[in-house]
């Protein structure tokens, strides 16, 4: 079902959503820095940037999340879980690459035997309003990772910015719940044509030049190659690329104790941290930066494909944009495909 939302009705539309849902959207924290946040007023929303620094995964898998609280009385203790989600939620303005990444993490956090209920509850309670990318960046390579600036995969509603209005496509039953919203009018044919034009223009700008075909097989032979010693040189071992990556899902579980009460918390973690696999005995299977940078690349382009036969990269380009040493994963992929000996 295709509808239209005039931009003059945008804020009232958001207000109507906020009456019923917790609304998450990109918010500018400082000039050039934005993250997905729960908003209190419609004017906080800022859709001008292509992608916020932190990915939309944060709405489903927050960087720091309480798993349960506990209270100790004598030798007994009471545990209260915080997995529940009180209110339905909407995430507005997620780009196709971030949404594609969330569907990749779905594979890890779901499962017949064990499901990550914190993630699952948030995922079930959230309606995704995606927004098309009419100005993809030069660092974006989503078309190489079977995504695209107008890919509707994973969205419940999908917006296309027509200039004066948004074209609103309702794609799933969750999306259909919005069909009665009073701010959404019927889309005329010229809106649809304009939407198609914008789509063609954006797709042409994308250069699907990152060669990932057969990278999993290639990496199988390269596990002990000297290539990794060369790749790790410029990496300073910070956690920027993993914290900002929409498909990274590693986390740490720690207890935060006050006197007799406290909470068990999970925080994002990074395989690039030197402590990530350090065992209490002092043994560390990944003792140097070589093993750690290898793990990041292997997990996304070899291990994840082996487990879920999908590459765990959506080509959003954040790790390229924000790396302090300009470590460019497109270059690394090309070098790998050339056998990594160059």
């Amino acid at each position: 079902m295709k509808l239209k939302l005039d931009k003059k009705d945008f804020n009232p539309f958001l207000q109507s959503l906020m009456d019923e849902y917790d609304l998450f959207a990109p918010v500018q924290l400082a000039e050039g820095v934005s993250v997905y946040k729960k908003i209190d007023r419609p004017d906080e929303v800022d859709l001008s940037t292509s992608n916020p620094q932190k990915p939309a995964k944060e709405v489903f898998f927050p960087q720091s999340e309480i798993m349960f609280r506990y209270e100790k009385t004598g030798k007994q203790h009471q545990v209260t879980s915080t997995e529940g989600v009180e209110r339905k939620r909407v995430i507005l303005g997620a780009r196709p690459c971030d949404i594609h990444a969330v569907s990749l993490i779905d594979h890890v956090f779901s499962g017949k035997e064990y499901t990550d209920v914190y993630y699952a509850n948030k995922r079930n309670a959230t309606t995704i309003i995606g927004i098309a990318c009419d100005h993809p960046l030069s660092t974006c390579f989503c078309t190489s990772m079977n995504g695209g600036p107008f890919s509707r995969e994973g969205s419940d509603l999908f917006l296309v910015d027509l200039g004066e209005a948004y074209l609103v496509e309702l794609l799933t039953e969750k999306g259909m719940a919005f069909s009665q919203n009073k701010f959404l009018k019927k889309a005329e044919s010229n809106d649809l044509n304009l939407g198609r034009e914008i789509e063609e223009k954006a797709s042409k700008k994308m250069d699907a030049s990152v060669p990932v075909e057969g990278i999993e097989k290639r990496l199988d032979q390269m596990v002990e190659s000297p290539f990794w010693e060369k790749v790790q040189e410029k990496c300073i071992g910070c956690r920027v690329c993993t914290y900002l990556c929409p498909t990274c899902h590693c986390f740490d579980i720690v207890d935060e104790a006050l006197t007799n009460k406290g909470q068990r918390v999970r925080n994002w973690d990074s395989c690039l941290s030197s402590l990530y696999s350090l065992e209490t005995s002092g043994h560390n299977p990944r003792s140097t930066n070589r093993e750690r940078t290898r793990q990041r690349i292997m997990h996304k382009f070899n291990y994840f494909p082996k487990n879920f036969d999908r590459i765990a990269c959506v080509g959003c380009g954040r790790c390229i944009l924000y790396c302090p040493a300009n470590f460019d994963i497109r270059q690394t992929i090309k070098e790998i495909q050339k056998g990594g000996d160059k």
Partner: protein
């Protein structure tokens, strides 16, 4: 041209085995960026470049090459970091060959991006201008209006104790009158200053890029990772983040060369140099000490004078 001389020097050092590898800068994969480059064979020296985007402090890589003889391309601030590191016995004396470059002050890529509408696809330097081109624009920007904050106030652009200095020295500024931002900030009330610090650190995502980009942060176990005693938690509690930023900055007292690599590494664009520069000013005022100038003067906090100021002590 500086770039040409760096390449010749690198080729010479590699050919006669004075060093095992050269760490310098190469062409970045994005406009307005250069990237650290590690060269081992002489034929590859032509990949070395020099421009106004060589913003990394390469001294932070030295811990990876402790058993090699390393040739390092250094700006004034990087050279000072190396003197500070040598005072802390971080490498053997003859292990390094410093190729000093009098620095023209580095350009702040983020400020340039914010000065134009639309993505910058190509950029190059021309004289004292930066020419940036996007899909539908081409603009020339005056270089000196877009320098990094730490470079604007830099007082030692010419490397002091480099083995060779490529290019002629540049004029310098004195430390005290060079810090308008700190003077401005100090005029504010304590509430305003705390609000600013609180707001800036509230964006922190604890990725530790500031710690990893800084050559002086090399502790085997950083206090944030210590489980026993556990100083702070690992989550995003504002107070823990402020704790981290206060102590990380304070640990640079009398050790920080003011290069600004911490601020440049931060993905959330958090201001950090206004903390370390304040400590540098205090150390100059209290103990007449500047980091990385005199290779024999002990760092201020590891020594003392019987007549140090003590008016603040009851």
């Amino acid at each position: 041209m500086i770039q040409e001389k760096i390449r010749q020097k690198a080729k010479e050092l590699l050919e006669n085995k004075t060093v095992d590898l050269i760490i310098g800068f190469g062409e970045g994969t994005l406009p307005l960026r250069a990237t650290p480059l590690f060269i081992r064979n002489p034929e590859e020296v032509d990949r070395l470049i020099w421009n106004s985007f060589c913003e990394n402090n390469l001294a932070t890589y030295l811990h990876k090459f402790s058993q090699f003889k390393v040739g390092l391309v250094v700006k004034g601030c990087d050279a000072r970091s190396i003197i500070a590191l040598s005072l802390e016995k971080r490498f053997k004396p003859d292990q390094l060959f410093l190729i000093g470059v009098p620095c023209q002050r580095m350009v702040d890529r983020r400020r340039v991006k914010k000065a134009v509408k639309g993505e910058i696809l190509r950029a190059r330097e021309q004289g004292d201008q930066i020419i940036v081109e996007g899909e539908d624009f081409k603009t020339a920007l005056k270089r000196d209006d877009y320098l990094y904050p730490s470079c604007q106030v830099c007082t030692h652009r010419t490397p002091i104790k480099a083995n060779v200095v490529i290019g002629d020295p540049v004029e310098e500024r004195s430390l005290i009158e060079a810090h308008p931002e700190i003077k401005e900030f100090e005029k504010k009330s304590p509430e305003e200053r705390w609000k600013y610090f609180e707001k800036e650190s509230s964006r922190c995502i604890r990725c530790y890029a500031c710690r990893e980009a800084c050559p002086m942060c090399y502790c085997a176990e950083c206090f944030v990772d210590s489980p026993n005693p556990k100083w702070i938690e690992k989550g995003l509690s504002p107070s823990d983040i402020e704790f981290y930023h206060i102590v990380r900055a304070y640990h640079q007292t009398g050790r920080c060369s003011g290069c600004g690599a911490c601020e440049r590494a931060c993905p959330m664009e958090i201001r950090l140099t206004y903390l370390t520069q304040k400590l540098n000013l205090d150390v100059k005022e209290l103990f007449d000490f500047e980091t990385g100038i005199d290779a024999d003067a002990l760092p201020p906090l590891s020594t003392y004078e019987t007549e140090d100021k003590q008016e603040f002590i009851k």
